[in-house]
């Protein structure tokens, strides 16, 4: 997974999720491929419109769950069957059924910890500072504003010309504000 990063970006602010979705469609049609949107809530269909690939987060969580399962079973077997065998009440030496409840809990624990830390890894959080935070009024993004960002410049297109074109497109779409964001390398 490549993080979203570009030298020159144009950003447009919108007041509704519908306007944001329209802007995504227009910019994609105009040839902008590296897009990122910011919104106060998850907009159903936005990641498909942006063409985001589904990350392998679920696979990773599955692996964490399986590791949790194996560890939980192993520790019970090691403690009660191998390291210190304790037979009470004529119960079996290796009671598979009795080990199932804790193994289940271990699976859930492993997968849940995997989901949480996987979320942090796949989003790169915590990131307390990000260039977009420098934009005045960006704090309304978590409240009621929607932003679209397009990375400018590819092998064929010059970044500055691309940015000018992008700004025109965003203005046509009725963006409340258009901002050009530069990142020093």
């Amino acid at each position: 997974m490549r993080p979203f990063r570009a030298r020159v970006q144009v950003m447009g602010e919108f007041s509704s999720a519908e306007a944001l979705l329209r802007a995504v469609e227009r910019l994609r049609a105009a040839g902008y491929r590296r897009l990122e949107a910011y919104s106060p809530f998850e907009i159903p269909g936005l990641s498909a419109a942006l063409g985001l690939e589904r990350p392998r987060l679920s696979l990773y969580i599955l692996i964490c769950g399986l590791l949790g399962c194996l560890f939980a079973y192993w520790i019970q077997w090691y403690a009660n069957v191998w390291n210190y065998l304790l037979i009470v009440g004529n119960r079996p030496i290796h009671p598979v059924l009795a080990f199932i409840p804790a193994t289940f809990e271990g699976t859930v624990l492993g997968a849940s910890l995997g989901a949480f830390f996987g979320l942090l890894a796949w989003t790169g959080l915590p990131t307390l500072w990000h260039p977009v935070f420098e934009i005045e009024g960006f704090e309304r993004t978590t409240i009621d504003r929607f932003w679209i960002t397009a990375a400018c410049g590819t092998d064929e297109r010059d970044a500055e010309q691309d940015a000018e074109h992008g700004e025109r497109v965003l203005a046509e779409l009725g963006a409340l504000r258009v901002v050009r964001l530069r990142e020093t390398p």
Binding site: Q76, S112, I143
Partner: protein, 467 residues
């Protein structure tokens, strides 16, 4: 995807009004829901009163715990054969209350129930704080509570391991997992709303505190995509987990051979009872919150109606379990089982507990056959209090009536609690309230981003027809 049509500016469609009523726009909604964090709401002077009263009860809880540790467990009413009494009753009761929170937040998101969004955070916080109490009681009850860490499988020089053939280490695994998963689920749900708190906070210090807690969330669509995957998977994990936890708690009982405990119906019976008491607690919490913060447009009659129906369903399932238990005992032909179910409980020394709890649990929810009462705030609150207390009595009845009269009449013994037992129970309610008030005071207790998303989806469905 098709480009969506512009939003209607008039009144929202009917089915949106049912889940969330005419809410103000997103900026005003955020302002309305977050301003109590900065200003304490319209009745700000109540906060010190609430914190002091619940704090004093929480203090009582800790003082009595200290007294129990210093004097020994003899200050409680427990004695052989009633070795489990108030502590285990309180434990089973608190952990059961927690179940409704996970039920609301995890089951309902998987079933795509839109009414979940307004109350899920309150229910999740309830789960978490109920679990804090639930985790304390078994430790108090250990006898030598300072050795509680012996229950964790760690390599020690003594080679003393927990015996996993017993149900008690399963409890440790289940409860610690449940607490961890509930905490993660709650916190992951909070992250976008903590960012909204950060961005509307007055003053640099509060911005920094909430900013740290929000982990620098900026609402990027890549983040939302991953967030959704992780959140749905956590919900999918929490759903079987919640069933497993009370099932495992019930195995503490049903693995024993005591009449009244040794029954295969226990796991589903415990889970139903847990969700039942938890829904009663959810109602007891959201009804005052709704009126104190003026949230009638966020928590609507639709929510109350659905919660009333849930109480009715769970009450009926519980009634079925009661009948089934007694019938199984009768039909088993085992004289000890028959004695416990058909004589000791309904006619023994705790008969008044048995009858009052059975009647309260079975008859109270029957009022919710009337739709008028399902949306009547007073009826809902009173019924919830009755169920809340009766479910505690159910666990007491289950534990004490089985223990105090087992196989041999020579070992029978009447159990009565001491003032320390009562003080610890009341103190645990104080600790719960203290933690819950702190949550209401300083955290966004209505999931803002979920609410905004729900409104967006409902409007789009109204525009384009249901998906």
């Amino acid at each position: 995807m098709a480009s969506p049509a512009p939003l209607p500016s008039e009144a929202p469609p009917l089915h949106e009004r049912l889940v969330i009523r005419n809410l103000p726009d997103n900026a005003a909604l955020t302002q309305q829901l977050l301003s109590p964090i900065w200003r304490g709401g319209s009745r700000w002077w109540l906060w010190p009163l609430l914190f002091c009263s619940s704090g004093l009860l929480a203090l009582l809880f800790f003082v009595l715990i200290f007294y129990t540790f210093a004097e020994g467990i003899g200050v409680w009413g427990n004695n052989i054969p009633v070795a489990w009494a108030y502590a285990i009753t309180d434990f089973v009761w608190w952990i059961g209350i927690g179940h409704a929170g996970t039920f609301i937040s995890a089951f309902l998101i998987l079933l795509n129930q839109k009414w979940r969004a307004s109350i899920n955070r309150i229910a999740e916080a309830m789960t978490l704080f109920a679990l804090v109490n639930a985790m304390i009681f078994p430790v108090l009850h250990l006898g030598r509570p300072w050795f509680f860490y012996w229950l964790i499988p760690y390599p020690s020089a003594m080679r003393v391991w927990p015996n996993f053939r017993s149900a008690l280490p399963w409890d440790v695994a289940a409860i610690s997992t449940y607490f961890t998963v509930s905490l993660l689920f709650w916190y992951v749900g909070l992250i976008p709303d903590l960012a909204a708190v950060r961005d509307s906070a007055p003053g640099a210090i509060r911005k920094r505190i909430y900013g740290l807690l929000a982990l620098g969330w900026r609402g990027a669509s890549r983040h939302w995509q991953r967030y959704r995957i992780a959140y749905i998977i956590l919900a999918g994990l929490a759903t079987p987990l919640v069933i497993s936890v009370h099932s495992i708690v019930s195995l503490d009982f049903s693995i024993a051979q005591l009449p009244g405990w040794h029954s295969t119906i226990f796991p589903p019976y415990f889970v139903v009872g847990a969700i039942y008491s938890g829904f009663a607690m959810v109602l007891m919490l959201i009804l005052p919150i709704r009126s104190a913060f003026g949230l009638h447009d966020v928590i609507t009659e639709r929510h109350l109606d659905v919660l009333g129906k849930m109480l009715l369903v769970m009450g009926m399932l519980l009634a079925y379990s009661y009948v089934c238990e007694a019938f199984t005992a009768y039909y088993s032909g085992n004289q000890f089982e028959q004695y416990t179910y058909l004589f000791a409980r309904p006619m023994g020394p705790y008969a008044w507990v048995y009858w009052s709890m059975t009647l309260c649990n079975v008859l109270t929810p029957q009022i919710f056959w009337w739709s008028y009462l399902r949306t009547n705030v007073v009826a809902l609150f009173c019924a919830s209090v009755v169920i809340f207390v009766a479910m505690w009595a159910e666990r007491f009845m289950l534990i004490v009536t089985s223990l105090n009269r087992d196989f041999l009449p020579s070992s029978w013994h009447f159990y009565a609690p001491t003032w320390v037992d009562w003080g610890i129970l009341i103190g645990s309610l104080g600790l719960f309230c203290f933690l819950f008030f702190a949550f209401l005071r300083w955290a966004p207790f209505i999931p803002l981003s979920e609410l905004k998303r729900t409104r967006f989806e409902l409007r789009r469905e109204a525009e384009h027809g249901l998906p």
